[in-house]
């Protein structure tokens, strides 16, 4: 029996299994300024960011689309799994980064490691960060540009591809939330009594 506490359902699309070809971004340390440059953060909602995903990598200095960048190539247009180098999402805490990735149709980012804040932000928006071992990552890199489909199964914590598979680790609680399509706030709100008790203890200590 699972020891994970019950979480309220609703709110988001549950994440179960995603099967797709791979879109390649074969760079390490992709920072959130690359994912979505700061000049696009002057918004008060989370709409429309997908159009500007990787804006400065996507365009040449004269503003034209670079045809060697994956997002501008027809063969990667339907991919919902991004394969990227290590330490993906480093830099700022902007949740606009996963909003932009999700807005552009991505459901999964596969790397060998992720920056902390990005990983948390991604899972809160139905975007699954999958950290694989280096050998598995290299196997997947060999599939880029082919029509091979990769399956990411959150229930089984497993990535499968023609000729291989690998298990990935993920925070149990965040996994439960993603599978149920819920967020953490409902869970925290239900701990009201604990929070009140804590606040009373803290006030007593500060005045002792």
């Amino acid at each position: 029996m699972s020891t994970t506490p019950a979480v309220r359902t609703g709110g988001r699309t549950p994440f179960k299994v995603v099967t797709s070809t791979l879109a390649p971004l074969m760079m390490e340390n992709v920072d959130t300024d690359q994912i979505i440059p700061a000049r696009f953060l002057k918004i008060i909602d989370s709409e429309g960011l997908g159009e500007h995903l990787f804006e400065d990598l996507r365009r040449a200095s004269d503003g034209s689309m670079r045809d060697d960048f994956f997002l501008n190539r027809a063969e990667y247009r339907s991919a919902s799994i991004l394969l990227a180098g290590r330490n993906f999402g480093c830099g700022s805490s902007r949740e606009h980064a996963p909003w932009a990735l999700v807005g552009a149709g991505f459901r999964v980012v596969i790397s060998t490691s992720f920056a902390d804040i990005f990983r948390g932000n991604a899972m809160k928006n139905g975007l699954l960060p999958v950290a694989l071992d280096a050998a598995s990552w290299t196997s997947l890199a060999a599939l880029v540009g082919t029509d091979a489909h990769v399956t990411v199964d959150l229930e089984r914590q497993e990535a499968r591809w023609p000729g291989g598979s690998a298990r990935f680790e993920i925070d149990t609680f965040a996994r439960t939330c993603m599978l149920a399509g819920t967020d953490e706030l409902g869970y925290i709100l239900e701990r009201e009594a604990d929070i009140s008790a804590y606040e009373m203890r803290q006030a007593a200590e500060e005045h002792s």
Partner: protein, 466 residues
């Protein structure tokens, strides 16, 4: 008596803020202070409205505007920035939050005013929708950046679900040379550990160099902990901390009792860290970055590294790409490279001591006429202090621009930016591609190095000028 397990500073703050530990879930952690700004909060307030929620403890959230506001006087011209600011104004009014708005004499960069107002205190948990929240760790507070979903969680519940990070002691030993300071120390550490080297850790800075640092120097170091991927940076509170806080607006009313509590926070003798790093700064030269992440730094006396010398292929490619973006060649000397812009400011280096350092170099000198030099104080209070000391005149007499406070050219979403292809020496924290404007090329450095380079128009070893 049962033996007490020695604890680190991080353990003590963590333990004191655990609301609940439940199997299968992260720890529910209480947040003492929540700082918000115009860019990462609007969607969180929209979320509260959708769910019909109020703030649990409105007095524990403090708002200001810094990221998208211009550093010029007068109304905001950019309609998108104006809309963000008016949205925050409406949100703080509707939800009953204190705000240091555009007209407030106490407004400034969120990580500058928290300490300045005395809101930042030892032992507190502090969060903000901004990764440089690590700055506040200089006071022995557990402070970290969060996303907008978590901003909503804190507004609604004053709590976050968190896994406890591992701890790493970063011992900084040795003796700093004249002209070499806190910024050089953190850039040297980042060059050593890389931009992912601190991932999963809270870094506690210890050692004689850190003890001798002022609060402002400690803030510079903690500020850039996130550039190593660390969850937070920490410095144990001591008399330097207490003296800084005494008399500030929001310092505890019973200050002596607070100091007695704070004195119990430093790590116990024999406390276990998950990892340890030592950095000896004896003989360290002023540091400067040459690439497109803050870990790509070298001494100003050094040369541009050669991708062919990198041990792994992805490292080679990353370096090649960085040098191509920066327009630099392997083996070239760093010092002497011509520059176009100097930016002195940001939550890393915009405090009064940073401005005094820059003024020390610029007093009686002129900036190179080719170089646009922008000096942006971290807060309106720092601006007034600098003006009272005559620093503004030093800057303007030298030919630099003296501006209103804000994030300015560090984030380039407020009108201050570096043009495509231009080289900037910047006292800020990030040299990512396009960070200071599309196509901008950034050299991160200390205020001293930035001021010296402004004068010569080239990357300069400031030790020749101090």
């Amino acid at each position: 008596m049962a033996p007490v397990t020695p604890r680190t500073l991080f353990d003590k703050i963590w333990d004191a803020h655990v609301v609940r530990n439940e199997p299968g879930a992260p720890t529910l952690l209480y947040i003492d202070l929540h700082l918000i700004h115009e860019v990462t909060s609007p969607q969180a307030f929209a979320g509260l409205r959708r769910r019909g929620l109020r703030l649990r403890r409105p007095e524990r959230t403090v708002a200001t505007v810094d990221h998208s506001i211009p550093t010029s006087v007068g109304p905001i011209q950019d309609p998108l920035a104006a809309k963000q600011v008016s949205t925050l104004e409406a949100n703080v009014r509707d939800f009953g939050i204190s705000m240091y708005g555009q007209q407030s004499p106490q407004r400034g960069i969120v990580h500058v005013i928290g300490p300045e107002l005395g809101l930042t205190q030892p032992g507190k948990t502090i969060v903000c929708g901004d990764s440089h929240t690590s700055t506040h760790g200089a006071f022995g507070a557990l402070a970290f950046g969060i996303g907008t979903s978590e901003v909503e969680h804190v507004l609604a519940t004053q709590c976050l679900l968190q896994h406890k990070a591992r701890s790493c002691e970063v011992r900084i030993e040795g003796r700093l040379e004249r002209g070499v300071g806190a910024k050089d120390v953190i850039l040297a550490l980042l060059a050593q550990i890389g931009v992912g080297g601190g991932t999963g850790y809270v870094l506690e800075y210890t050692g004689q160099v850190v003890r001798a640092f002022s609060m402002e120097e400690r803030m510079t170091v903690c500020n850039m902990s996130i550039e190593g991927g660390a969850r937070a940076g920490l410095v144990a509170p001591d008399d330097t901390t207490f003296e800084y806080l005494a008399g500030r607006d929001f310092a505890p009313r019973n200050f002596d009792a607070a100091v007695q509590r704070w004195k119990t926070l430093p790590s116990d003798d024999g406390a276990a860290y998950d990892a340890r790093i030592t950095l000896d700064v004896t003989g360290l030269a002023p540091m400067i970055t040459f690439g497109t992440n803050p870990g790509m730094g070298v001494p100003i006396t050094g040369t541009i590294p050669d991708p062919a010398q990198q041990s792994d292929r992805s490292g080679q490619e990353a370096l090649r790409k960085a040098l191509q973006y920066m327009g630099l060649n392997p083996g070239e000397a760093v010092a002497g490279r011509p520059i176009d812009v100097v930016f002195i400011g940001s939550c890393t280096n915009s405090r009064i001591s940073d401005l005094r350092e820059a003024a020390r170099i610029l007093r009686g000198r002129k900036v190179n006429p080719r170089v646009r030099t922008l000096v942006v104080p971290g807060s309106q209070a720092i601006k007034r202090q600098a003006e009272a000391e005559g620093l503004d005149r030093v800057f303007t007499d030298a030919g630099a621009e003296w501006r209103e406070s804000g994030c300015s050219m560090c984030i380039a979403m407020n009108g201050d930016e570096v043009a495509a292809g231009q080289y900037a020496v910047s006292t800020s924290n990030r040299n990512f591609e396009g960070r200071q404007g599309k196509g901008s090329r950034t050299f991160l450095a200390s205020p001293l190095t930035a001021a010296a380079s402004a004068v010569t128009g080239r990357l300069t070893d400031v030790r020749t000028m101090v």
